[in-house]
């Protein structure tokens, strides 16, 4: 009986399996894992390259853009693209404010009036036109020539014959003649150092 059962099982299994296509597929699944494994082995050195390069390029471009913008802005302000000459155009604040308190500096309320634009002051050539004057310190120690930040009211009345005149900085000629600015603004506006006419 057991042998007959064995025969029955063998015949039954053979008949069942004969109906099933047991040929191995030409594209077995393990081949995909093989190629994935190869990619994984090759990839580590190269996988992060595009991202790293992309980040570095982006950072470099951003730095170059910021630096270029700063240089261009400074060159436009100073009129000189050479960065070595930018600092030489600063004017010492002490001379710029000679004869009175600088506008915008704390004076205890006593000297507030001169800093305000008045019709009379505006009308007179070379008068302060209400702008706060901030003198940048000289970086080369040469003295008084420099760039002066004009106030909001810097562009009003023509500044007279000295308008646009460019005076060489010699360290001894403070801008107290009321004729105009020193530096590169080209407005000819008298500012900061000169006392408004009263």
């Amino acid at each position: 009986m057991t042998n007959r059962l064995d025969d029955l099982i063998e015949q039954g299994l053979a008949a069942s399996f004969a109906r099933v296509d047991s040929r191995p597929p030409l594209q077995p699944r393990y081949l995909a894992s093989r190629s994935a494994t190869r990619r994984w082995r090759v990839a580590p050195a190269l996988a992060g390259l595009p991202a790293a390069l992309g980040t570095k390029v982006a950072v470099a471009l951003a730095a170059a853009t910021i630096a270029g913008t700063g240089v261009a802005a400074k060159a436009a302000l100073t009129g000189n693209p050479n960065p070595l000459t930018w600092g030489g155009q600063a004017q010492p604040p002490a001379r710029a404010c000679a004869g009175g308190p600088c506008p915008g500096t704390p004076t205890g309320g006593r000297a507030a009036a001169p800093a305000l634009p008045t019709p009379a002051a505006t009308a007179s050539p070379g008068a302060d036109r209400g702008g706060a004057s901030v003198a940048l310190p000289s970086v080369d120690g040469r003295g008084d020539a420099g760039v002066r930040a004009h106030g909001a009211g810097g562009g009003g009345t023509p500044a007279g014959p000295a308008a646009g005149r460019h005076q060489e900085a010699d360290g001894q000629s403070p801008a107290t003649d009321g004729h105009g600015s020193h530096g590169t603004s080209g407005h000819g506006a008298s500012d900061g150092g000169e006392r408004p006419e009263r």
């Binding site: 025969d7 029955l8 393990y30």
Partner: protein, 191 residues
């Protein structure tokens, strides 16, 4: 026995070509579903390929593959059983259908009966009666002692006899009139 070198990709390709059909049939005997058997066979070779460099030639490569494949199939059957819980509940109380001797002779019912066996017993039956494995080879494939293989085979046959019922008696009488054939031995010699 063909020789393979662990970790060699070409040898694994050869092992795949040589062993795929036998692995597939074993898994078909355990699972009873050709699609599931093919899926598990493919998964078997994926796992085997991942472990190919660790295979030791002191064990037959096909027994090693069977061990991996049966583990995959057992897991599949466990999940399948969980999915079938609702179906089993629906079928409770329904009378069992009679076994058709013609169907049994075609093997379809035998596969169904195998599928109802514990998977380790079904695997032992297929390995012995289709692949012609010895108890030692079955023990290597299942990862159990040889004594366990003997007891599993005995239990599996007892249960098959009960499952197939009268069909066994009827067909065994027919088989007794025919010359004995050994498809398993023929299958092995062709490899």
């Amino acid at each position: 026995m063909p020789s393979y070198r662990p970790g060699n990709a070409d040898d694994f390709d050869r092992l795949y070509r040589d062993s795929y059909a036998r692995i597939l049939r074993t898994l078909l005997g355990v699972l009873g579903d050709p699609a599931a058997a093919e899926d598990c066979a493919q998964e078997t070779f994926v796992r085997a390929y991942q472990a190919w460099s660790r295979w030791r030639p002191d064990a037959p490569a096909e027994a090693w593959l069977h061990r991996i494949g049966l583990r995959v199939a057992f897991s599949h059957r466990r999940r399948e059983r969980l999915r079938e819980v609702s179906n089993l509940v629906r079928r409770l109380g329904r009378p069992a259908s009679a076994v058709d001797p013609v169907e049994a002779s075609s093997g379809a019912d035998l596969l169904a009966a195998l599928h109802r066996l514990p998977p380790a017993q079904a695997a032992a039956i297929v390995l012995r009666h289709h692949h012609g494995y010895s108890n030692r080879e079955i023990a290597a494939a299942l990862g159990v002692p040889e004594s366990t293989v003997s007891s599993r085979l005995t239990m599996a046959k007892d249960r098959l006899r009960r499952e197939l019922g009268d069909a066994v008696v009827e067909l065994s009488l027919q088989v007794a009139d025919e010359p004995t054939r050994y498809p398993a031995a023929a299958g092995r010699s062709s490899q």
